[in-house]
Each structure stands twice: as structure tokens, then as C-alpha cells.
Amino acid sequence: MTATFECRGLSKHFGATQALDGVNISIAPGRVVGLLGPNGSGKTTLIKLANGLLSPSEGEILICGSRPGPETKAVVSYLPDKTCMPQWMNAQQLMDFFQDFYGDFDRQRAEEMLGRLGLDQKQKLSQMSKGTKEKVQLIMVMSRKAKLYLLDEPIGGVDPATRDYILDTIIRNYDPEAVVIISTHLISDVEKVLDEVLFINQGKVTLQASVDDIRQQYGMSVDEYFREVFKC
């Protein structure tokens, strides 16, 4: 079976700065993977490369066997770490938008999740609180039956209740044929939801292992192990 997400000798530099250096990764369908690393380690660069927002300097990145382009974008669902949806739209218009452009958008699922939030579909994004906006964005992204979900820092900067809601949404929308990549530096909150983790530092992937293996081998949680490895 083709790996859903694959990097071969992937490198990216911006002028003199090397953001990613010879990254080799392969992720099979059905895995929930944590992309863990300190700020500036290359997490966001890797995600943008997967999205086609950046092009590789060297090597290649493959989504379900193809280079990033309109065809892969149709099966990749992306949640950036900032509000990206037009603020003048309301929830209903957003759903219309997603339904228009993405064949895999499950409107029923989205309506259900919005309903559980008690959200007025006619309320504009600009009138919502920051936490609600982020939940709405998450709902749109998770309502797609995509092959690859890229969540960039989904729980940073939100209150614990919202954090729980986000993790709950990720668990409930789990699809054994899809891959979910969660990039974060808040590991202890996310650890139990992950199958495997990728440690990334200074543009290099230093570890790809399952959460269970790390706990078994080192007798500590991934969060604790991470702190050990990345001790300053």
C-alpha cells in the first residue's frame, strides 16, 4: 500500500537559512502522528511543503504517491495555526464554500458539530470569540473525509476546555484510511492521542517511533523523553 505521506531526502532553504535538511519519513494510513520539536525546528516548513505552499529545494515530498498540486490538495485537509477564513462569512457560508470546493466535505457532520457547539449559523466569524473561531475552523477541517490531515499547533493558545474539545474532535473523526499529523510543542496534552511521534530539530528528523515503544523502552512518557533529548 502506498504510504500516505512520504519524504525522500527533502531539503528546504530560504537564502542562507536551512529550514529542512535531508528529511526521510514514511507514514502509513491510519496513523496519528505527532510532529514534535522546538520553535523554529522546521515543523511549519514541513507542513507547508506538504500543502504545496512551498516547493522543495532538494528531494521530494509525496502525498499518496503524488507531488503536491491541485490533485493532492483535494485530499489534504489543513488547519493552519492562525485564522485563515474570511471574517465576513458566517458558518453557513463557510460550509457552502467548503462544499463547493471539496468533494469530500461532509456537510452533515459539520452541521452536527456546529449544532453541538450551540452556534448560530448566521453569525459572522468576525463576531465570534477567538476560541469559537478556532473551533469553527477545526470543524470545517475535520468534516472533510481527507486522506491527510495537517494540524499546525491546534491546541496552542486555547483554554483547556477548548483543548479537550479539539482532541475529542480528532479522536471522534478518526479514519483508519487517513493520516493525521499534529504539529505541536505541547506534548503532554496530545501524547495519548498519538500513535507515533517524529522528533524534529534544526531541520532534521532525529526520531520516528511509536508512543508505546518509547514508553516501554525508556520507562517515561514521550513528553519526559522529549525534554531529555532537547535539554538546553
Binding site: 479522536i171 471522534r172 478518526y174 500513535d195 508512543v211 508505546d212 515503544d213 514508553r215 512518557s221 519526559e224
Partner: protein, 123 residues
């Protein structure tokens, strides 16, 4: 069920222990239908694959069985549950004894302490 996990063991083994405990303590009676993997995973806030793995272990141990279309159920075989209960009890006793020995108590003193403890409880 209490879904608090500690950090030094894989999650799935802790899940197996917790569900086993619920079964042997009667919280999940024999024949009881279990929630879906997804619902339980969401409740415990763990990865569905991990929950699935835990269930596979429990199926292997015979404490849980799955029926194609109807889902997963606690076994109706009371003997298996009893066996598991005894095995867990033996584990608890073993670790209790080890802890007491670490404190420096001999076997007789331990038994004495246990009896004292029982009397205090009755009062």
C-alpha cells in the same frame, strides 16, 4: 471509569488493566455490551488504535469477545473472570508484600498489622 494514566508504561497496557479491573470488580458485569472503540477512546482521550489494541489483548485473554454486527461484550464465562480476579489479587498481594518487606517487616509482623487494621475498621 477513571482514565488517569501514568507516564512510564505504554497506554494500551494501562487500558487493559483498567478495563480488566472494571470487569473483575463487577462494574462491567458479565455479558455487558461495551461502547464502541471510538466512544471509549474519546472518553479516555486516547488514540482509537491504542484502545483497539487494548481490546485485542482482552479478547486474547478471553475476557471480552466481539460479535460481527452487534459489537463487543464482556464474556459470560464467570470462571474466566474469577481467574482474572484471582490473578490480579495475587499481583496486588505480591506487590504489597514487597513494599512491606522494603519497610523491613517480617511475615509475622505483617499478618499482625493486617489483623490490627481489621479491628480498627470494625470500630
Amino acid at each position: 471509569m477513571d482514565w488517569v494514566f501514568n507516564n512510564d508504561m505504554p497506554i494500551y497496557t494501562q487500558l487493559v488493566d483498567k478495563i480488566k479491573l472494571s470487569i473483575v470488580s463487577g462494574q462491567l458485569p458479565p455479558g455487558e455490551k461495551l461502547s464502541t472503540v471510538r466512544d471509549l477512546a474519546a472518553e479516555a482521550k486516547v488514540n482509537p488504535n491504542t484502545m483497539q489494541r487494548a481490546f485485542q489483548e482482552l479478547e486474547r485473554a478471553g475476557l471480552v469477545f466481539s460479535q460481527r454486527s452487534s459489537g463487543r461484550f464482556v464474556t459470560e464465562d464467570v470462571e474466566v473472570i474469577m481467574e482474572a480476579k484471582k490473578a490480579m489479587a495475587r499481583q496486588y498481594v505480591e506487590s504489597f508484600m514487597k513494599s512491606m518487606e522494603q519497610l523491613g517487616y517480617a511475615e509475622e509482623e505483617i499478618l499482625h498489622l493486617l489483623e490490627e487494621g481489621k479491628k480498627e475498621e470494625k470500630q
